[in-house]
């Protein structure tokens, strides 16, 4: 992960973003480190059903980091803290990191690394299909997350492609909602957070000049 602090000696090395970004990086990495520690040294740290706990924790952190990624723009607009944009790629890549772990845990613990068994299950279970679809859609976003790819496909097309995060987040919440047996409290709460973040964008869109809107719609 490249840091965005300047390498120049002439700028102060400890800008606010320069502190917050590595801290956030460590914070978001921590759950996966704890899970790894538990797997190798103390599985019961995760309770009686460590595999299920790993599936749930990794899944939670996919959604948390997706919501954090989507919160960057509102935070920037509201607080005028423009450096927040420098966190966005890292947050997005963390959601991809956790979705990879989540998928691997499912493939390994539940499907015993049997790809044809997994394919059959995905075809049969809507909630798994929805989650798998979200995972697939995240791949092009992760691949094109580098500066080189922004230049290669052009800023406008890149931005358009990365709007995929909206359906991805919605699919993620649906996946979670359809998984729970009876208690929908957490998917509901996270779904409301997502709804607020999306409504904020709708608000920005409606407030923008009609001409601009037309331009966006036709671009």
């Amino acid at each position: 992960m490249s840091t965005t602090t300047s390498n120049s000696f002439f700028k102060p090395p400890l800008s606010f973003i320069g502190v917050i970004k590595p801290l956030l990086f460590c914070f978001l990495l921590l759950p996966s480190l704890l899970i790894s520690y538990a797997i190798f040294f103390d599985p019961l740290m995760l309770g009686a059903n460590p595999a299920e706990a790993i599936l749930h924790h990794t899944g939670d952190w996919v959604i948390y980091s997706l919501l954090l990624t989507l919160a960057v723009t509102p935070v920037r607009r509201v607080t005028k803290w423009n450096d927040a944009i420098k966190l966005r790629r890292m947050l997005g890549l963390f959601s991809f990191y956790y979705v990879c772990l989540h998928f691997l845990a499912y493939l390994g613990f539940d499907r015993l690394f049997d790809l044809s068994d997994m394919a059959r299950e995905i075809a049969k279970r809507p909630f798994i299909l929805v989650g798998f679809l979200a995972f697939l859609l995240m791949i092009p976003l992760a691949v094109t997350s580098t500066r080189g790819w922004v230049l290669r496909i052009g800023g406008k097309a890149w931005a358009k492609l990365h709007k995929l995060i909206y359906p991805i987040a919605v699919l993620g919440i649906i996946h979670y909602w359809w998984l729970v047996k009876r208690d929908i409290f957490w998917p509901l709460l996270l779904g409301l957070v997502l709804a607020a973040l999306l409504v904020y964008r709708l608000f920005l869109f409606l407030r923008s000049a009609p001409r601009q809107r037309g331009v966006r719609a036709s671009s």
Partner: protein
């Protein structure tokens, strides 16, 4: 779903297998020499919750018994919260004394039995596989006696075709009741022949002791060939009824949880496969699920001629 790691089970909490086995061995040999009293008093010296029971009345499966620390910290008991770690955390102030079970409905001799009376039955240990509908399983040494012995005392009439279990609902002691995830009180039911089957155990203890609150103290049933939710916990009422009773999970989601809910690898839950299971605390779901949870030899005849895909 917040970032907690569930109940931390330190290795010191887990009874070392040698000690557990030696205790059982001790119990067994003591009983064999007719020194049951000595054994029970010796045990009660080490633990006030110990029960006296016979060891070898029921054949032991080859499965490894699940550690007590796991079976008492990973529970579905929604009256204490919907997370698996909630019951162990929240059931501490649940009062189980005094406790009575009312038995009524289509019976000639309705009666109310106190828990002390139930404890006077000949208790035996039965090591049963427990298969949860969520595709995990454990192996638990329960202590109890066949429910049929209790039902025989109340003399079911010819109208009695089903048995309905009603479980405790104490809002002050069960924080989960404030949250209507299921219709409270939790109810379950069996067909009369299922309830009378010798495998159906009225259960008062596990791991040599009385039931911990989070496992359904002070009295529950255990029906080993059905998914775990059929085995109602903390029972306060048993009614013999003419028609199939409404049951908690079946009412909540009839397409997912049938009245019968026999363990069946051939009938998937709509959202997941039931072909294999995770034997806890293992990581991999690599344990093949058996029809009737491996008790088909004893119970399959109860369902002869029935389409088990229809009556799931």
């Amino acid at each position: 779903m917040t970032f907690t790691f569930g109940p931390k089970i330190s290795s010191s909490e887990i009874t070392p297998r040698e000690i557990y086995l030696s205790r059982r061995h001790f119990m067994g040999s003591a009983l064999a020499t007719g020194a049951a009293l000595a054994a029970s008093s010796a045990l009660s010296a080490t633990s006030p919750a110990a029960l006296s029971f016979s060891q070898n009345a029921f054949p032991k499966p080859s499965d490894t018994v699940t550690d007590r620390a796991l079976a008492t910290t990973y529970n579905n008991f929604y009256e204490f919260g919907t997370s698996k770690s909630d019951p162990a955390r929240n059931a501490g102030k649940f009062t189980t004394k005094p406790w009575t079970v009312e038995i009524g409905g289509e019976v000639a001799k309705p009666k109310t039995v106190g828990i002390e009376e139930l404890l006077k039955f000949d208790l035996e240990e039965r090591v049963y596989r427990l298969r949860c509908v969520e595709a995990w399983s454990m192996v638990i040494p329960w202590i109890g006696f066949p429910l049929s012995k209790l039902l025989a005392q109340v003399e079911p009439t010819s109208k009695a075709r089903y048995v309905k279990f009603t479980t405790a609902s104490k809002p002050d002691e069960m924080p989960g009741l404030s949250y209507r995830v299921l219709d409270w009180p939790y109810t379950e039911g069996l067909r009369l022949d299922e309830a009378m089957h010798p495998l159906t155990l009225l259960t008062l203890g596990m791991y040599g002791e009385v039931l911990p609150n989070q496992n359904g103290a002070p009295v529950r049933i255990v029906v080993p060939w059905k998914y775990g939710f059929k085995s109602a916990k903390s029972i306060v009422r048993i009614d013999l009824v003419a028609d199939e009773p409404k049951t908690a999970w079946n009412s909540a989601a009839p397409n997912e949880y049938g009245f019968y809910s026999n363990v069946n690898p051939a009938v998937d839950h709509p959202r997941w496969s039931q072909k294999r299971e995770r034997r806890l605390p293992g990581f991999f779901a690599n344990h093949d699920t058996e029809p009737f949870n491996g008790y088909g030899e004893q119970v399959a005849s109860l369902y002869s001629g029935m389409d088990l895909a229809k009556f799931y």
